[in-house]
Amino acid sequence: MFRTIFNKEILENITSSRFLTVLILCLIIIPLGVYVSTRDFQTRQQSYQESVNLYEESHKLPTDLLYRGAKAYRPPSPLSFLSLGLEIVMPNVAETQGRPGESQSVVELKFNNSQSPDNIYEFFHGPLDLVFIVAVMMTFFAIAFSYGSISGEKEQGTLKQILCNAVPRNQIILAKMAANYVTLVTPFLIAVLLSLVIFQGKGLVLFGSDRAWLLMTLSIIFSLLLIGAFFNLGLLVSTLTRQAVSTIVILLLAWVLLYGILPRLSSVFAQLVYPVKSQQVLVSEKNQIRMENEKECEARIDKLVDTGQSSLDKQKSIRAEFAEKITGSLQKLDQEWEKRREIQRSMAMNLARLSPVSCFIRPMAEISKTGWLEWQAFTKDVTRFQQVLNDKVFNQNVFEVTKGGIQSHEGKYSGPAPIFHLQPIPSESLVKNILPDFILLVIYNLLFFSGAYVKFLRYDAR
């Protein structure tokens, strides 16, 4: 019985215009999206490579860093064709200001985003990455495939015809679910695989990259789960209504709520309920602290020089004392702010999880290394790099204040200039980050399907 109904559903789908529409749209839009995204990635990769090459050419020695400043570049993510995420807005370079060789305090690397938009309309409308295609296009198709499963057949009168046979109801709904889901995701999978094959080597790097295959598979699983969630939702609503039209109306409203409203509302709501001061204010406050302390430091040194009690070592120890004080205060400020921001962020994240769409979009960004984890990793690695630079290069140059002016004592430098490397995000962190969303998506699927199952057992087929 299961097989009979399963085959019938497959046949019915294949002969319908909606399957053809979905197939054509998938075969056009998915490769197009992958093509455009990989081309953009190649451009970014090129810029990055050129910048890094030029930088390394002229920054070979530590003394180069003193006069020309130091930079840390973040490489663009090759998997950004899956999810562009925050790639364009997160900082892609951290650099010193002015001439750090003339600085008398801790040298800081400031984050910046050198990617100003070439075409502003790109940002109006967003990228055509896989996340968009799945979260918008495929969920729409999922609705189109599932709305008529039960209520449509009832309207047609064929449900009655089926039920007057010795067919258990659970087999009917299982067969419908399986068959319609398979016909829905097959064009999607074909289009994705086709794109991977076509664009391999043309900006799409899957071979030779350590975890790329794994991450790609994970993305596809997430996509299938989201499509499944909407599909089963459609099935559920179909068992709750008597007319196909009502099913579609309810599903469209649900779609607007789940895609358009819940995720967006969550971050704004979190901000309202638990406000955190902006980065700009924090930076200004930090600058103020730094300035005040530096002034104090210089005043003490000047006093020492005036009273004739100065020596290089005494100046060095005063400077070290203030450096520690500054670092301590700034760290404290940073930590407090980070803590508050984390609370706000997780509040928003958990609220957003009420919609399966958020459980898909956010993890996909993390998987593609264009999400929050990547941002944090870059920040951490830059902080580490900054420490190395200060220890090995900038603090070597010592300035002594004398009555005749400022005398600089050249430091001793050995070896080449330190170079920045971004460490890959450890797998455990990634898994820990996306596991809750994975589980939630599975739960949504099970919840909706079991709802449909239970409802269908009592569905009035007349």
Binding site: M1, T4, I5, K8, L11, E12, T15, S16, Q156, G157, T158, K160, Q161, I162, L163, C164, N165, A166, V167, P168, D460, A461, R462
Partner: protein, 252 residues
């Protein structure tokens, strides 16, 4: 009650959630090789009766049996012995006639039929050859009814339930349809059909029942009807004071 009756309703009642009493203690039976026609106005309870037999809704009281099996207790088993032709046979518009037939045949337990078998059945109901591989959405109402009955034939179940099968058919198509029913009856099928069509009911029915406001108010055999004018009887029953205002007992 005749123990040989293959279709039985004993004290069957149905009250819907909105308190409407759609069926009031229905007792009837149909034997093999018998055609039973149920007449009645719209809302009299004819379709409710069929829905109860098919277990689409549970009865409030009473039981119905198909081939001796209690429909409520073992619906899946009972459904092996019944075929159904609905009032408006819609089927799957994008499938051909044969594809529809194939699907429902398999559901009905007939798994190994060939194309020829399907063609034979469709020819039997006088469906034109060129329609066999045509999509059902291009069919006229008459063609769809024929396809509906062919689905019932191919299942080869001993009971056939039909809900107003000739409504909307032209006289010729209706005649053809009834001829098929007569054939099926002679093959031993028990045929139960609800209808408005008094003339044809009289023609084909071995027994005729009249329903009014959920009750079976009259039952006559073919022989009894030869002396009576069914039309007059029917209209008289329809015109009389509503049952709710009077108590009238009916002998089965």
């Amino acid at each position: 009650m005749d123990p040989k009756a293959i279709l039985k309703a004993i004290d069957l009642s149905k009250r819907y959630e909105d308190e409407v009493l759609a069926l009031d203690h229905l007792n009837l039976e149909v034997q093999s090789s018998e055609v039973y026609c149920l007449l009645g106005a719209n809302g009299a309870g004819k379709t409710t009766t069929i829905n109860l037999f098919l277990n689409f809704i549970p009865p409030t009281t009473g039981t119905c049996y198909i081939n001796g099996i209690d429909v409520t207790k073992d619906p899946l088993e009972a459904k092996k012995y019944v075929s159904f032709v609905s009032e408006n046979v819609m089927l799957y518009g994008n499938f051909t006639a044969r594809q529809n037939l194939d699907f429902f045949a398999k559901l009905g337990g007939k798994l190994n039929l060939t194309k020829e078998d399907y063609y034979r059945v469709m020819r039997r109901v006088s469906l034109q050859d060129k329609a066999f591989e045509q999509r059902v959405k291009t069919f006229s109402k008459g063609m769809r009814q024929k396809l509906g009955i062919s689905i019932a034939i191919i299942k080869d179940a001993p009971v056939i339930l039909l809900d107003e099968p000739t409504s909307g058919l032209d006289p010729k198509a209706a005649e053809e349809f009834l001829e098929i029913l007569a054939e099926l009856k002679s093959e031993g099928k028990a045929i139960f059909m609800s209808t408005h069509d008094i003339f044809r009911a009289k023609e084909i029915g071995d027994r005729v029942g009249i329903m009014k406001e959920g009750r079976l108010v009259m039952e006559r055999t073919r022989e009894e009807l030869l002396d009576e004018d069914l039309v007059k009887v029917y209209i008289n029953y329809m015109r009389s004071v509503p049952l709710t205002a009077q108590k009238e007992l009916v002998e089965p």
